[in-house]
């Protein structure tokens, strides 16, 4: 047998380049004659534009051009609706998508009003100061309930209201569940906005080559192929005239799958017009407005249970903050709606939501993509029910888990891929038990907590469950080629933003071809090297692109064996692929190198059999029947300073099931990073908009990202239930770390303050907010 590559903790192929500064990021692209763009962004969240005076800016030395909406002519179009509404009965949907430059009206602070292109970014920004916009300020829509109230200002007047969509999904019969229940609990929950704050902001370089008649765009996008197709259509070019390269990207997290950002279309348009390359690199301040955000929802939820804790049903009615435009359709609220049910048997469910337009930056999926809210609501309801019924928190969960013999399990609610979410596989109780064991649940509750509380400490423990629909279609593809050097090159259409694709994909291929992982060269995100694909999102890279690689590699392996069989005069079954060679099993002397085989598969003279394809190459596509459902359990011990309300996470455990593991090191990294973002979301990060829609903390000085001192070492373990829906058995893991952290914090804090009956019903928190909640709970007030 050859040594296994798949499943091993192999160090990442890309790290030497990344760590020594030799990887190409968009801002590294320097071209002769390159111009620089800067955008004038509205300070006001909601205002009419009466006029824009660009005279002074245009005259400033070094300025090549100044454009406003009026200059764009036919090119000025609202962006495409990326995700159409799902096939749900009686759904109401009003499409309103972002525009390249605001015309007549601005709808959120930071919306671009004019673009200056100059010889340097400095000059371009100087010229912004010379542009005068005559605004008429309007009242802003900021609150979610206020957006729905009678007489609210309107984000899109022509609609006559602020409702972007209304969706109701049901299963079973809530009314009956409520009637039969021994206990019904109702709660209101709030989840507020944050931003993904990728290390690298967005950036674009667009370059039109007049002689070659080709447009090249370097773009920090998670979806280069869709960008190419869209830009070609908008600019009247053939797809072959447009090359989009998504080079190394310092973090995507979802906002970089958004299309088309105004800057993306404007730079491509401008380079054609000006005949010179144009660069725009988003700065950190712009990122707070111009890149999409997520997570504002208000839920009114109810749970109906029997006296023994069995769930009969759940009713949830929520408002989702779409921001000023909704190019991404209903992906986020649908994920909330669908993921809420979690790993539990919930016979009846009635869930309705209104997605509302507000005068705030656009909302699109960000790591977790609405799942956070669903998990928060469900887990909080379980906690409230446990308390009311005097059942242990873990026990009430255990009683409601979907049993291992019920898979595939149909949760019946339509997910972001437009089909009812069917959990392909899962085994929830062992993961729960493992997490309890790793955190030391019983010991903490019985001994440690009482002992420490007697010393005046505040310590709490928590354990929560979640499921995550991952790896959705439609498809991805890959081309695997053995080169004459004996090395293997692989191309795929998805982009990479730090996931370790150069290694995990290489492992999938190396496993079949029998070469070292370091000899597999992966190309992602260059539309000239792979034509087809959808993009990197929804924890789908490993599942969908990974299985396409696998299929292509299996096919190439077949070609290798066939050709080698001919050359070595041996039966295919008697051959093995080891260390870049094909040999007769156990007879290394009778062997041939892959490089030599590849050369022979591409003869330069003579005749071949009719129908022969040259090379050791194959292209395959993979489209799963439906997504694979990952699951997991997080547990934590939290210490609160009872005087300052600052927190210390003493222990953090993640046990999760993402099916077969390709590379445990990379998986560990995904989990750690996800938890870090979850911690930020739960206790540090919050975008503070004032009542005028102005953002009060648009800098990393005041928008607090968790730092190394805030994020603990995470103890993690896996339960492996391979997905039956793809040959590799993998499920997505990209979002798992981030999803249940808010629910976990809430439960741990409740536990630390159970003597005063604290019940946390919102995320994010902060020391200040915790102080308020504890003060209110101590006074016996309803929070």
């Amino acid at each position: 047998m050859s040594t296994r590559q798949f499943g091993q903790p192999i160090k990442r192929n890309e790290d030497p380049r990344l760590l020594t500064g030799r990887a190409l990021f968009t801002d590294d692209v320097q071209l002769d004659g390159m111009l620089h763009a800067a955008f004038l962004r509205s300070d006001l969240a909601h205002a009419l534009i009466h006029s824009i005076d660009v005279e002074g800016a245009s005259r400033r030395p070094g300025v090549a051009a100044v454009y406003t909406a009026g200059d764009l002519g036919e090119f000025w179009q609202p962006g495409p609706l990326l995700v159409p509404p799902p096939p749900v009965e009686q759904l109401e949907f009003h499409q309103r998508t972002q525009v390249p430059l605001a015309k007549e009206k601005v709808r959120h602070a930071g919306e671009a009003v004019a673009m200056v292109i100059a010889e340097s970014r400095y000059l371009a920004e100087d010229a912004l100061d010379d542009i005068f916009v005559d605004y008429e300020p309007l009242d802003a829509v900021t609150g979610l309930e206020a957006a729905l109230s009678e007489g609210s200002p309107l984000v899109h007047e022509d609609l006559g209201h602020n409702i972007g969509a209304r969706v109701t999904q049901t299963k079973g019969n809530w009314t009956q569940a409520e009637a039969e229940a021994d206990l019904v609990i109702r709660r209101r929950f709030h989840y507020d906005r944050g931003t993904a704050a990728a290390l690298e902001n967005r950036g674009i370089v667009a370059s039109w080559d007049e002689k070659g008649q080709r447009l090249t765009v370097w773009d920090t996008t998670q979806a280069p192929i869709a960008i190419r197709n869209g830009l070609a259509a908008m600019l009247g070019l053939s797809e072959h005239q447009v090359r989009v390269i998504a080079p190394f990207i310092g973090g995507g997290f979802g906002p970089k799958i958004m299309m088309f950002y105004p800057e993306e279309v404007l730079l491509a348009w401008a380079t054609l017009l000006l005949g010179r390359p144009v660069k725009w690199i988003e700065d950190r301040e712009e990122n707070f407005y111009a890149t999409t955000q997520e997570r504002g929802q208000v839920h009114d939820a109810a749970i109906a249970l029997k006296g023994d804790g069995t769930i009969l049903g759940i009713k949830d009615s929520f408002i989702h903050d779409a921001g000023a435009y909704a190019p991404y359709g209903l992906t986020v609220p649908l994920s909330s709606q669908c993921t809420l049910l979690g790993p539990y048997v919930v016979p009846s469910y009635h869930s309705e939501f209104s997605s509302v337009f507000t005068n705030k930056p656009i909302v699109t999926p960000y790591r977790g993509a609405g799942r956070q809210h669903g998990v928060f609501v469900m887990e909080r309801l379980m906690d409230a029910a446990a308390k009311e019924l005097d059942i242990e928190l873990v026990e009430i969960r255990r009683r409601n888990l979907i049993p291992p013999d019920s898979f595939p399990y149909n949760n019946e609610i339509i997910f972001q891929d437009f089909t009812p979410l069917v959990y392909d596989s899962g085994n929830y109780e062992p993961a729960l038990d493992r997490a309890l064991q790793l955190i030391g649940y019983q010991e903490f509750i019985r001994e440690e907590q009482p002992r420490r509380e007697a010393n005046g400490e505040r310590v709490g423990i928590a354990v929560v469950n979640y499921i995550e629909g991952t790896g959705i279609g439609p498809y991805e593809g890959a081309r695997v080629t053995v080169e004459a050097s004996g090395k293997v090159s692989v191309a795929t259409g998805v982009g990479t933003q730090g996931q370790g694709h150069y290694t995990s994909f290489a492992q999938v291929v190396a496993e079949q071809i029998g070469v070292a992982v370091s000899d597999v060269h992966i190309v992602t995100g260059d539309t000239d090297l792979f034509y087809w694909g959808a993009g990197t999102f929804a924890s789908r890279g490993a599942v969908v692109a990974g299985n396409a690689m696998h299929a292509a590699a299996v096919k190439v392996r077949g070609k290798i064996l066939k050709l080698a069989g001919d050359k070595l005069e041996a039966a295919e079954e008697d051959l093995e692929l080891i260390a870049g060679r094909v040999q007769v099993k156990g007879v290394p002397e009778t062997s041939i190198s892959l490089g030599q085989l590849a050369a022979e598969a591409n003869p330069m003279r003579g005749a071949v059999q009719p129908g022969t394809e040259p090379g050791l190459e194959a292209t395959e596509y993979f489209g799963p029947e439906r997504g694979a459902t990952a699951s997991g359990v997080h547990a934590m011990i939290l210490r609160v300073d009872p005087e300052t309300f600052t927190l210390e996470i003493e222990k953090y455990v993640v046990v999760h099931d993402c099916g077969t593991v390709i590379n445990p090191l990379i998986l560990e990294g995904q989990i750690q990073g996800g938890v870090a973002q979850g911690i930020g979301n739960a206790f540090y990060e919050q975008l503070h908009f004032d009542e005028n829609g102005a953002l009060r903390n648009a800098s990393l000085m005041d928008y607090l990202l968790p730092t190394a001192t805030d994020v603990p070492n995470i103890v993690s373990d896996h339960v492996e239930t391979p997905s039956p829906l793809n040959p590799l058995g993998v499920k997505g893991a990209g979002e798992a770390g981030a999803i249940p952290v808010g629910a976990l914090f809430a439960q741990a804090l409740d536990n630390a303050y159970r003597d005063i009956g604290l019940e946390v019903r919102e995320i994010p928190l902060s020391p200040n907010r915790l102080f308020e909640l504890v003060t209110e709970a101590s006074a016996g007030e309803i929070v």
Partner: protein, 294 residues
Amino acid sequence: MKPAAFDYFAPGTLDEALGLLADYGGDAKPLAGGQSLVPTMNFRLAQPAVLVDLNGIDELFFIREEDGGLRCGAMTRQRSVERSPLVQRISPLLYEAMPHIAHSQIRNRGTIGGSLAHADPAAELPVLAVALDARMYVRSVTDARWVAARDFYVGLFATAMLPDEMLVEVAFPALPPGSGWAFDEVARQHGNYAMCGAAAVVGLDGRGVVERARLVYLSVGEGPVEAEQAEALLVGEQPNAEAIRAAAETAATQDVDPVGDIHAGPAFRRHLSRVIAERVLTRAIERATEANRQ
């Protein structure tokens, strides 16, 4: 996030620098470590026409002992202060508080003079200067004067310096014998500006009664806020837990009147004012008691 255009001078001597400030008046700004000034310029909140870079003026970099006290040149890096054995010996309060300023990377560039001159109400150094009765040596081409720290701070990001004046040096007198001290603060994250913080200096007489008390806050007003009523309450008292609690309560309810920001509302800041006062007074008194025993 690119600054507006500016002229840049890098004088080699203090006199040259003062000359440039005299020539350009309010249009010029000294550039020290740049850790506050450069971000403000990148946001275009500050658009000085001229920068006078002090980094090449060797005579502004020093820490030395004089009359038993400490003297620091304005350009002394915060990191140098933090690591100085002289500071540790002569001004242990300053020594204890330095690591609370930002992150070590920022302290590597940030200067003591820059922070004192910037007068950020959330900054540690102005509070320490007031608590320690520091004096600021301020010069212009035509004038030179010493200003007491408590007279130096006149409002939000405002000092008693005129546009053509520069902070050249700061003097921290030694603590009288029998003094105890402490500094503490609560920040949302390590290295961030604190939501509330305070420095305390307490002196006990031979009978162990409080003779002198200083309690100065950051982040609860427009500059360093001295808790005068709490101080008065402590003086003449036996320094026991009850007296400390009473003083902390007075400080939080009478002496400070904090406004809120996104990180901490007024009620929470008031709460923290009490918690921190209790913590720093307790520790300062322990140290003073210890010092008295020796």
